[in-house]
Subunit: 679 residues, 2 copies
């Protein structure tokens, strides 16, 4: 009779022969099969549950006999009695191999279980969080070998978890002795290893085997909004998402006005630091409240932001970021104590991980987009545009990745637009203009029906029609261009030129009336010549940045465009292309990645290897500085035309024919938009 | 003509041939000659000054020609003009070898200059402080290589000082950019490397080459007193010493009463933690004031203490130290942020280094004594006794070192003695009793003359005669035994038995009157039977601890005794031996080491290698637990006799013959002293 047996694990397919009597967990570990265990095989944690398969497995060429695993032992009996084992399940640490067997590892028993992203691209995140629990058995103190309790905890972590150096704060040392004795020399330790160079920190310790929930928060700290996702660090599940306005807005709408505020007002940087840290504390409490958890169970925070937000959050005056050579105070990733950042709402020992910055204008948010969208793994040439008050732009493929940022200003977010507003119920978000009648139809947020459909009047009773949001204004301008109401230079035609009274004179220029609610006390919603100019400025900056990267890369076209940013998710690809916001590509090659920066933060929260990856990747991303490249200005001027004064848009031409109108009568309306300052 | 030349360094004697044109500093470095340089050879810091010798050097077999070093260059000219170079001196980084030469490195140019200890043993401390300054030249930012300023500082430290990983706090990051630009990309960095495993921390940064003073504080935190020495971390000089009472005294006089206080009063440990940390803050301010420096220039603190003080200082409830197995919460050395310990009086980034503990009853203070007295390097068998409220005892030689602690109680410090007081002006510190007349003569602190000498009456007009201090009571009891006023069991004889009316009845026992100042409103200073019992308890505990170590070591006698502790310095060896406090050795083999624990702390402050040494040494010291050794009790009972009921004191017998008196009349005065609880 054979002394060993064949063990085949599914779904991995890993297989090998093992001596009879080998516990399944041990077999899995020796093969590198992903089978979880928190208690280290002591039959306590039940994380290593497996499902043995019996009978014929022609695919594997094996027949599994009923006695292929050892009988239930006392540990499994007790576990089943007390907590219940699902039908067909065994504890991997107790069941021993007694014959050829096929062992299935169910998803919930995998450490690196896959979490489905809810985004368009549906990429998975493998669980490997920087913060996790370990169960340990600690040697009892011996008067004759007088090591401290902490030194014995450290040794347990070395011997039982191969964690070479673990550090503990005074708050841990001060409760260590009580916890160890209460748990009768067994304890569950919450550990964090922030980045590659960091030692493991003990963030918390509980008596015995404690299934304590561990939560983490991924935050995308933008110039205008702060968005947070609360994640379960064991399952990877998002428990709650919440956002709030960045309170620094009161010091300046865009980045450069905040840098100026810091320069002009002594202590202004500290005011802004205080404001944003308070906002994050309040976000932590809000999101914990929404999820119904205690904020003290949040052990780690991952934050991504642009360099100015990065510096202000860390308490560093951003003045150097306002002038060449745009030197960052620090560019590498950081792993910090939350309390040193005055983030006191979370666990007292919570850690903060900050992704590395790529350059003085290309921050940790761009790094997070790179982590989420992985341009460096793309076979074709992909352009990724994270649209916000400042646009981060990445271009590349597996050979080379370039990055820049471009100061689009807040127009894409509906700010500095005459009827502009944030994306909220009542805002016009979609619009179509009939090319013949020049009449608009539109849809407002919160109402399903279009304005010319039944049910619309009832729908807006709740919301009203209050303004136009960012995606609405882009559609409006593009539709006006397609309907011949705006010419290639961006001029709005008069009522005679366009044949519609909706083109109303306004001073020496014209506005297009979308909706007049003034008779019922509401606003007159129009697109003014100034609005068109603001959109032209923003889209020119965006396009010029992308085009500059294409120059640097030496390509005349890109294969794919990914629109990222919360706003990117709502932009219509066709309208963006009509405006010339993005380079010409087949429409179905434009996709949205949702809040890619936020997703990147979430990946870094849930997967430690991803931190190593992005820390290495940022050094390979070549940064192009728009502020000093003379060609940027050239591209910017060309891009102010709709779609572009110099470049053909052949893919666009296949689907849309833009009217060849010109409303320039030599008046002052033809003033060319001037480049805005960075922001 | 030879292309190279012989260079001989004195005092080291190191020599080698170097290519002509080699700077002297470079030659010194390649030979490992101890020649300082803070600026890395840029002619800025002038730390590398050397004195070339010219003419015949028969001892070295070399003749040095006038042109053996290069002419003064512009850097030396400028340095001499601006700051002045002493006659015959050159800057080692500028002067180049042009022929055979003898180069003397003066003490002030050595990094590891020797600092003479002011103690009895006069051992030297080599300077190698954990906190030091480095001058660096930092690469300027380049828009095309977008690393952060901090990352370039880190690279400068790597390349210019071989410091692999340097960490910086947010307070450093927030001022980094301003400092680097002000110093035109040169900076002086204050670095600390707390212990072997720690990375270098940047504690401060100054623009350009800044000669900033760096100070450190060595603190011996005792149960009763806290003593601090403020040291210059560059020269090693002690600038000021100061002390204060441990405010924890109000929670309990000895260690065990403080442990009890923590056990009986919820939050009591935190009260004591707060009290001692406040005391250290106040000591920092006092000592900085005395030295006339800013407390913000104190960058490091080294503290030694017994385990209970250790835990209370760190904010750890000491309850486990009050019961077997006396488990420490942590035993290894610690390197912490001062501000995490609420020590806010020093520099904001100051570090605290805590020596390792040997065991639950043998703390970092005993480790510091081991570091200072180095029993493990002794060829003969040395017993080291650190006398305080709790005695730390070390016994060993280069083969093996043992340690224990023993609860002597505060009697040796003058507490729990009827006329006892702290060592202060007015306290009787020396006493002699005439064996025939039984009359005493004594000396008080603050007065030079003995009580029977001219000038005494005038002297005490200032001080009064207020009580007996710790060393005084030891002498008094020993003198009473030598004068036949006390018998071997510790009983005081009555006036008839002793023939002196100074032996006065006091209840059912007798007291010996030393001085009666009651007619002038002063105290009647007596030694009561209770005082004798208190001293017997203390000295029995001390002797029994020492004897237990001798048992464990397997020796019947020791070669040398070192008395340490502030009080140890004042104990008369002869009187200590008459009392049987210490084992019998030739009197001239008893020495005092002064405050050896404080000296150990100072060594650890000034020499980083000493930290490695003691961290390794503590694991080799074998700890003996007095609390559980049955023989301790036996030794304790024997030692309650004066000098000892069971053991001969042959060396003592050579110089003193103790009267064979016995005053035991079967009364209650013969109660055997009972062992006190630990404290």
């Amino acid at each position: 009779m054979s002394e060993d047996a064949l063990v085949i694990f599914t779904p991995s397919g890993k297989r090998a022969r093992f001596a009879l009597g080998t516990p399944v967990l041990q077999a899995a570990r020796s093969l590198g099969v992903d089978l979880d265990s928190v208690c280290g095989g002591r039959g306590i944690c039940s994380k290593c549950q497996i499902t043995p398969g019996y009978g014929e497995f022609p695919k594997h060429g094996v027949t599994v006999e009923p006695g292929a695993l050892s009988e239930w032992n006392a540990v499994e009996e007790r576990y089943n009695r007390v907590r219940g084992l699902a039908e067909g399940r065994r504890l991997g640490c107790q069941a021993k191999v007694m014959g050829d067997v096929v062992i299935d590892v169910p998803p919930e028993s995998q450490v690196h279980k896959q979490v489905i992203r809810k985004s368009a691209t549906e990429r998975e995140i493998a669980m490997d969080p920087a913060t996790r629990s370990c169960f340990i058995e600690v040697e009892q103190p011996d008067m004759h070998i007088p090591t401290g309790d902490f030194e014995r905890v450290r040794r347990a972590l070395q011997e039982q978890w191969q964690i070479e150096t673990a550090e503990a704060d005074l708050t841990i040392l001060s409760k260590l002795q009580t916890v160890l004795r209460k748990g009768e020399w067994q304890a569950t330790v919450v550990l964090n290893k922030g980045n590659h160079d960091a030692a493991h920190s003990i963030l918390d310790i509980f008596p015995g085997y404690t299934e304590t929930p561990l939560y983490g928060l991924a935050i995308d700290l933008g110039s205008t909004t702060i968005a947070g996702h609360l994640c379960d660090l064991t399952s990877g599940r998002v428990l709650a998402s919440s956002g709030l306005m960045n309170p620094q807005i009161r010091f300046g709408e865009d980045l450069m006005s905040r840098v100026s505020y810091a320069m002009m007002n002594p202590g202004g940087d500290r005011e802004m630091t205080r404001a944003v840290r308070e906002a994050i504390n309040s976000l932590v409490l809000t999101i914990a409240g929404e999820a119904g958890i205690s904020a003290a169970q949040i052990y780690e925070l991952v934050i991504v932001f642009n360099p100015v937000m990065h510096h202000l959050f860390l308490g560093i005056d951003p003045v150097e970021l306002g002038q060449a050579p745009f030197a960052l105070a620090t560019s590498d990733s950081l792993s910090l104590n939350a309390r040193d950042l005055d983030l006191v709402a979370m666990n007292h020992n919570a850690r903060v991980y900050i992704l590395p910055c790529i350059a003085g204008h290309v921050g940790a948010d761009a790094a997070a987009v790179a982590l989420s969208e992985e341009p460096g793994k793309s076979k074709d040439m992909v352009l990724i545009v994270d649209v916000g008050t400042n646009a981060e732009i990445l271009l590349g493929n597996e050979k080379r990745v370039l990055a820049c940022s471009s100061p689009t200003g807040p127009a894409f977010e509906g700010a500095q637009i005459s009827s502009g507003q944030r994306a909220a119920p009542g805002a016009i978000e979609r619009i179509e203009i009939d090319p013949l009648s020049k009449e608009p139809r539109f849809r407002v947020i919160g109402v399903e029906a279009w304005s010319d459909e039944p049910g619309f009047a009832e729908g807006i009773e709740q919301t009203g029609i209050t303004g136009i949001c960012g995606s609405g204004i882009i559609e409006a301008v593009a539709e006006m261009r397609m309907a011949g109401l705006v010419d290639a230079s961006g001029l709005i035609g008069g009522p005679e030129q366009t044949g519609t009274p909706r083109c109303e004179p306004r001073g020496r220029t014209f506005s297009y009336l979308i909706h007049d609610a003034s008779q019922t006390g509401g606003p007159r919603i129009t697109v003014t010549q100034g609005d068109i100019r603001a959109i032209q400025l923003a889209k020119s900056a965006l396009y010029a940045g992308a085009r500059l990267l294409m120059d640097e890369m030496g390509v005349e076209k890109v294969d794919r465009v990914t629109l990222a940013g919360a706003f990117g998710a709502h932009i219509s690809a066709k309208h963006a292309m009509v405006l010339g916001m993005i380079p010409d590509v087949p429409l179905d090659h434009v996709t949205s990645a949702g809040n890619a920066a936020g997703t990147g933060a979430r990946i870094a929260l849930l997967n430690r290897a991803a931190r190593d990856q992005i820390e290495a990747t940022v050094h390979q991303i070549h940064k192009v500085e728009t502020a000093i490249e003379p060609r940027f200005q050239e591209h910017f001027v060309n891009a102010s035309a709709i779609p572009n004064a110099a470049e053909p848009f052949p893919e666009l031409a296949k689907i849309v024919t833009l009217p060849d109108v010109s409303f320039n009568t030599g008046g002052s309306g033809s003033d060319t938009p001037r480049r805005r300052r960075r922001g």
